[in-house]
Amino acid sequence: MSSKEKTITIFYGPQHPASGHMRIILEVDGDVVIKADPDIGYVHRGIEKLAEHKTYFQVIPMVERQCLPDAAHHNLAYVLALEELLGIEAPERAQYLRTLLAEINRIASHLYGMGLHGVSIGSSTAYMWCFGLREYMLILAEKLTGARITYSYIIPGGVRRDIPQGFSQDVERYLRLFERKMRDLDKLFISNPVTKARLEGVGVLPKEEAIKLGVVGPVLRASGVEYDVRRVRPYAAYPWIDFEIAVKKEGDSYARLLVRVKEIEESIKIIRQVLKDLPDGSILHERYMKLLPPRLKEYVTNTGLVKFPGVFATMKVPKGEGIGSVEAGRGELIYHLISNGESKPYRLKISTPSFRNLILFSHLIKDVKVADVPAIYLSLDYFPPEADR
């Protein structure tokens, strides 16, 4: 830097310890950021293009991989779009199981975001705690699906596995433990006066601005807009489930943290409700059950493990377009799937919450201290691989 320049440019990432796989180009005057320009694409894998070269079924594990903390929701949104094209709806029990996994995953996803948010303002304890508590949810998901993060659990027409024996008791045990630890986390991190001092009034996003910028998820709800896809366009078992939408008016980093905490509490409630109200019945749609030979059908009903009919390998999907939208951990997630009647998608457009929140970087990180950059950035729970796809 020459002595004449008044400002310096800081490359906040991709090698910065708190940046993730992206960079923000900051223009800094002393300790104040004047301008921020996000530069993304470091983890772009071209999932939309790759999807055009895979069969409908092969796309399922792939779409999960753009956002590992939130795999179930990507899985679900894609399958909803696909089911609209196929013109089927999963049986009720499968819908409840989808909701179960989605909520377990939402807790894990929020804890992931909160942990990183904690370490961004210096609380390594918050980081370790959130990741430790997230482990409980991963264990539950593992019991349900057989995998820790990449579930590939939801398939067109249903889900792949019924709940294992004794699952409800396991869930109750883990949830109790989880709730107890959450109360300690609240004392240690969330209500910690230093945390409050660092986050309150930082990165304020007023309601009008939030609406204008079209942001999504906890960020939107922390600014006072009561918009939750689970409520406005209910999918899976949400029409039958009673839950509150977490809303805050302040719109600052702390409100976004609190909205996540509240949503975790609601998710726990939903998980309990799902396990209480879980209806009996098949977990795979009638149309595909019919295709299975009797031996396999018996196996499915006895073990609760779904066997795919052979048609799944090369499934042809009617011409048309399907839209699947879910409330993912980070916000509204939309899959726009266009089929031309072949066995591979003609075009798959994924509108991810992280990508839609990207616009906030240049809006919120302006006239703030350098120290506030991580406090704002990670309060958005921005996940670079999800935005880059």
Partner: protein, 140 residues
């Protein structure tokens, strides 16, 4: 004003945890018990295989390839450098020839060994399990 209660609560909670047991699992000496139906490595029972190659067709990572065996028939072989353990091949197998093992920590000394031909699947698992036995994990 200074939130004294908040400070004290935070400090006391931290002190409390000084005396509680850690939750860390000392991997690899200890490991968590894997649940039933865990999606680990994939085993092939060559007697049951009906050579339909559905597994290779559905494999999302193109990890499964069909190998021509001595008897002139096709059997699936798996490339673990690609496998993502989604278990689609197992679920689509109409004759239960493919199945999961709970074991999942696949390690080989070079990349070529990750490609497992149909006849090697069991041997591959055994080799890996032996490597683990050297550490003698405690299951928690």
């Amino acid at each position: 004003m200074i939130d004294v209660v908040g400070h004290l609560k935070a400090i006391f909670t931290a002190v409390k945890y000084l005396f509680l047991r850690p939750i860390t699992v000392k991997y690899p000496e200890e490991r968590l018990k894997k649940p039933k139906n865990y999606r680990g490595v994939i085993l092939l029972d060559m007697k049951k295989c009906i050579h339909c190659s559905l597994c290779a067709r559905i494999c999302p990572a193109a990890a499964i390839k069909m190998y021509k065996h001595k008897d002139g028939k096709l059997y699936p072989g798996l490339d673990y450098s690609r496998c993502i353990f989604c278990g689609f091949c197992i679920d689509i197998c109409p004759s239960f020839a493919l199945s999961h093992d709970k074991f999942h920590e696949v390690v080989t000394s070079n990349l070529k060994d990750m490609k497992v031909t149909p006849t090697q699947t069991l041997e591959f698992l055994r080799k890996n399990e032996e490597r683990l036995k050297e550490i003698e994990p405690k299951i928690r």
